[in-house]
């Protein structure tokens, strides 16, 4: 064993839990031969013994004032406090649970009945003006309605399309000539269809067709009556 190796274990090799017998023998062999390590070992052993004497002296000293009565009082206070806080925590938990239940109830009621949500089918259908109305009459009624409509537009900008979900835009329903009344429209079923522009006049949707529009494909929701005739249409994008 070299001095360097001996130095690294010189504090430990007497400890049963650190060094084994073989290492201890090697270290002793080196110490008996090396004067420097012998002195170092001797000093360390002296220090260890001195520290042990100091530890024994400290052991025999009184271990301070007996604080047991004080600590017992603190123990009782703390346990009492814990019991109180536990009962408070219990009441708080009940309160939180009750408010959670109430809020769940409100949310589910809101979802089921909703805030008087207007049905797009019921609210939007506007039967087309009868084709029999004269142009003069139409112009007169338009003139009457125009200022009112402008005011309404200023007050609340019209939303041309309604976003149904994250991606889909839909228009309002337009009544088709096959519809007899709004009640008739509401009795129908909504069917999603894809159709060419050229097919729109065929179902009664008034549309001026040029070449591009006729070939364009539209996605639309049709309200189909019991007899299979389309009653209203809205366009989907």
């Amino acid at each position: 064993m070299e001095c360097r190796e001996c130095d690294s274990i010189i504090h430990d090799f007497m400890r049963a839990d650190v060094a084994n017998e073989e290492l201890r023998t090697k270290a002793f062999d080196h110490i008996t031969r090396c004067a420097r390590c012998k002195t170092r070992f001797s000093n360390i052993r002296s220090l260890e013994r001195a520290l042990r004497i100091l530890a024994d002296t400290m052991d025999s000293e009184p271990s301070g004032a007996q604080l047991e009565p004080v600590l017992r009082t603190i123990f009782q206070q703390e346990k009492g406090l814990k019991r109180r806080s536990r009962s408070f925590a219990g009441w708080a938990a009940i309160g939180i649970a009750a408010s959670l239940l109430l809020s769940i109830g409100f949310v589910s009621r809101y979802r089921v009945f909703g805030p008087e949500r207007k049905s797009t089918v019921a609210a939007t259908p506007q039967p087309l003006q009868p084709a029999t109305a004269s142009k003069a009459e139409m112009a007169e009624s338009a003139a009457k309605l125009a200022p009112e409509t402008r005011k309404r537009r200023k007050a609340k900008p019209r939303v041309p399309a309604q976003r149904m979900d994250g991606e889909e835009l839909v228009t309002a329903f337009y009544a088709l000539p096959y519809a007899e009344s709004s009640e008739h429209i509401m009795s129908g079923e909504i069917v999603r269809v894809k159709l060419r522009g050229s097919a729109l006049p065929g179902i009664g949707f008034p549309m001026a067709l040029n070449g591009d529009r006729a070939a364009e494909q539209f996605t639309a929701d049709l309200i189909v009556g019991e007899n299979g005739l389309p009653l209203a249409i809205r366009f989907v994008r």
Partner: protein
């Protein structure tokens, strides 16, 4: 014999959590001397030691729920609390440990004086006590990290593993800190070392 006195520390902590005051009192009586001596070994004031010891057991009352038997013994848990309380205490007080001890010196080291008292000398006991006081002062002048290693391993005779749990560091670190602490003690106690040097200087002044 009271049945509680046969219970392990861990069982006493369990009972304590359930509000058993006697279990706490028993644990206090069992562990208070160790904690007191550890704190006294680390600090230089009996008053501070009593304060810190009380703080340790108040913390035990409050945080007994945090004791996890898989991470160590109740003893280590208490030493860990004591160490934290001590660090907080040092932080609050920022103590400056000074040495004013006088060492009768005739060329030999203070250490040898401790170990080889002259039994024929009626003052030998007193001298030894003074020299032990010097050793204690030398321990107190060690930097904190070396001091706690020396106090735990040498004065409290704790194993490296347990000391590592208390100091929250690897076993190798405990070992190296202990070695460094002892080397510093040897330097302080040898003739011309800081402890002897100061004592000699004091004598020269008188």
């Amino acid at each position: 014999m009271n049945l509680r006195s046969q219970l392990s520390d861990e069982a006493l902590v369990d009972r304590m959590r359930e509000g058993d005051e006697e279990a706490f009192a028993l644990l206090y009586r069992r562990r208070q001397p160790d904690i007191y001596r550890f704190v006294l070994g680390m600090s230089n004031s009996r008053m501070a030691t009593e304060d810190v010891t009380q703080e340790v057991f108040i913390n035990l009352i409050r945080y007994a729920g945090r004791f996890d038997p898989t991470r160590g013994s109740v003893r280590s848990f208490l030493y860990g609390i004591a160490r934290n309380c001590l660090l907080q205490h040092f932080e609050r007080e920022r103590p400056y440990v000074t040495y004013d001890g006088e060492i009768p010196e005739n060329g030999s080291s203070a250490l040898e004086k401790i170990l080889q008292p002259d039994m024929n000398n009626p003052l030998a006991g007193l001298t030894t006590a003074e020299l032990l006081n010097d050793l204690r002062q030398a321990v107190l002048t060690l930097p904190l990290k070396y001091r706690e290693a020396v106090v735990l391993c040498d004065l409290q005779e704790m194993g490296y593993v347990e000391a590592a749990a208390v100091m929250r560091c690897p076993v190798g670190t405990v070992r190296s800190r202990l070695h460094r602490g002892r080397e510093l003690l040897l330097q302080k106690l040898k003739p011309g070392g800081s402890v002897n040097h100061r004592a000699a200087r004091k004598r020269a002044c008188c």
